[in-house]
Amino acid sequence: MNSDHILSTINMIQKENLDVRTVTMGINLLDCRGGDIDETCRRIYDKICLKAGNFVETCNRISRKFGIPVVNKRISITPIAHLGAGFKSDDFVMMAKALDKAAEDVGIDILGGFSAQVEKGITPWEREYFISLPRVLSETRRVCASVNVGTSQKGINMDALAICGKTVKDVAEATKDQNGFGAAKFVVFCNQPGDNPFMAGAIHGLEEADTVLNVGVSGPGVIARALERLIEEEGRENLTLDLIAEEIKQTTFRVTRCGELIGREVSRAMNIEFGIVDLSLAPTPTIGDSVGEIFQILGVDDVGAPGSTAILAMLNDAVKKGGIFASKTVGGLSGAFIPVMEDSVLADAVGNGSLCLEKLESMTCVCSVGLDMVAIPGSIDADTIAAIIADEMALGMINHKTTAARLIPVPGMEAGDFVSFGGLFGASPVMPVRNAGKSSRFIGWGGRIPAPIHSFKN
C-alpha cells in the first residue's frame, strides 16, 4: 500500500470532510395492511422496528471500522397511498403518527415515503391523502412527504398539480409558528426515482425488494477542496476546464468508492440487499460544504451570474462519469443538488440579488433535482405556486430527467426577509417571485398535459 494513498485518503476524511452522507433503508410496507386502521398502524410500527431495530447501531459500528462518518441514517417506505387504499384522511394521519413513532424508536431523524404517485390520475383515497398532509406535516416531526405528478411517459397530471399548489400553501400555513417549515418536508416530483436515498423525496418504490439499502455519497465540500488544491498546486494559468473536469471525476471516484464500501458492509452485516449508490452532491448549511462554492472556485463571482448553468452542467457530468465506474449500481438522483436554503453560498446569492428564480430554474435543466428549498413570500397564491411547479415538471418531462419542487411560502414574510429553519434545513432570504397572480387561468384548466411525443417508442 502506497503511503501517499493512505495520507491522501486520511486528508480527504479529516480535512476535506469526506463522509457518507446517508445510508437509507428502504422498507416495503404493503404487507402491513390490516383489517382496520389500528391494526395497520400496529403492523407498520412492528415491521419498521423489526427491520431497522439495529440499523443505526450497525451503521455506527461500520462507520467506526473505516473511520468514515455516516452522517445520516434514514428510512424510506413504500408510497403510503398504496397502503392506504380506501382510507380517510384521519387514517392517513394515524399512519403518519405510527411512522413517526417507529422512526423515533429506531433512532432515525427522518423517514421518507409518505407519498403518492398520481402522475396520471387520482383515486379517492389519494385525495384523502392530500387532505391529510397539513396535519401530517405539522403533527409529526420525522415524516417527509412527496408526490409524483408527472413522468416523461405519462405526461403531467395538472389536477394533482393544482392540488399540490394548494397543499404547499396549506402545509406552510399549518406550520406558520415555525415559518412554514412543514413545506420543507413536502416535495413535488416529475420522474421520481424509487431508490433515492436523499430526503425529503426518498421513497421505497414498488419495484424494489422487500428491504433494500441505498447510499448517498459525500457532499460537495470534498470536490471544492480538491479543486482548490489542484489550482494551488498547478497554478491557475496552467489549468483548463477539461483538466478541472478530470479532477472532479477522479475525486468523485474515490468519494463514491467510500459509499460503495459502507453500503456493502452495512448490507452484509444486516443481511439486506444493497441497492444503489446515489452520486448526488448534497450540500449542507455548514461552511465549506456548498455546491455554490464550487461555482465560485470555477470562476463566477456570484452564483447566478452568466456561466453558472455551464459550470453546473460540467460539474454534474463529471460527477456522474467519476461515480459510475466506482459503484456496482448507481441510481437515485445522482447529480448536484442546488437547495437554496441548505447551501449558504446559494442563500447569499439570493440575498445579494444575483440568483433569481428564473436563473435557478434554468440551472435545474442540467442538474438534479430542481427548485429545492426555495423560500418565497407567504403572500404568493396557490395557483402561482402550482404554475412554478408546472414549469419545473415540464423540464423533467421533456428532458427525461427527475425534477422536483420544494417551495416554502413563508407565512407573514416578503421578499428579502430572512428565514431560518436551523440544522440541515438551513436559512436564506425569501426569494422574490415575479409575475405572481398571472397564471390562474392556466392552472384552472386542469386535466393532463399529454405524454410528450418522444415517449411513444413502442
Partner: protein
Amino acid sequence: MKKQIVISVLSKDKPGIIADVANVIYELEGDLADMSQSVLNGFFSMIILANFDISISSEKISRKLNDLSSGPDLTCIVRETGDSPFQIREEEESDVYVVTAQGKNRTGLVAAMGSFCRDRNINIIGYVTKLSGDIYSMMLDIVLPEDLSPDSVHDELAAVAGKLGLAIVMQHKSLFKTVNEISLR
C-alpha cells in the same frame, strides 16, 4: 529434503545487488520463494526466504554471499528458519487495520507507537513513515490479537493521541484499497 533459509541483505544502494544475491542462490540450487526489498534514503535492504537442499549449510551460503563483488558495503545475515519449506500464506486482509499517526516531528514517536502495540500484543506487519516539513507521519499495518476488540483499541489510541500530541486514526485496510484501486471485491 529441503530446508528454509532467511537471508537479510543491507547495503549502500547501487545497481546489481539483487542480481548478485539471486545468482548466489541460483548457483547453490536454492529456490527463492519470496522477497521484500526497499530503499530508504540511499540504503538498500532486502529480506529473502529461500529453500535449499538440506546438505547446504547456512555458513556456506553466508560465505558465498560475503564473497560477492559488491564489496565491503554489503552485509548479509543468513539463518535457518527451522520451519518446513516455504509455502505461500494468504494475507488475511480481513484482519488488517491501518493506524495513521501524524504530528510535529520529535524523537521517540516510533518507540511510543511500537510500545503501544507491544504492550497489547498487537502485531505490526508493516510500518512506513514519512517526514514532510516538520510533520511526521507513521502508517502501521497491524493485526489485533483475538481477545482485543477494534473498539477498545480505538479508545486507547485516542488516549495515546492526546498524550503524544498526535492525530491518530485506525481504519480497516480495505478502505484504502477500495478508494485507491480500481478493482473492488
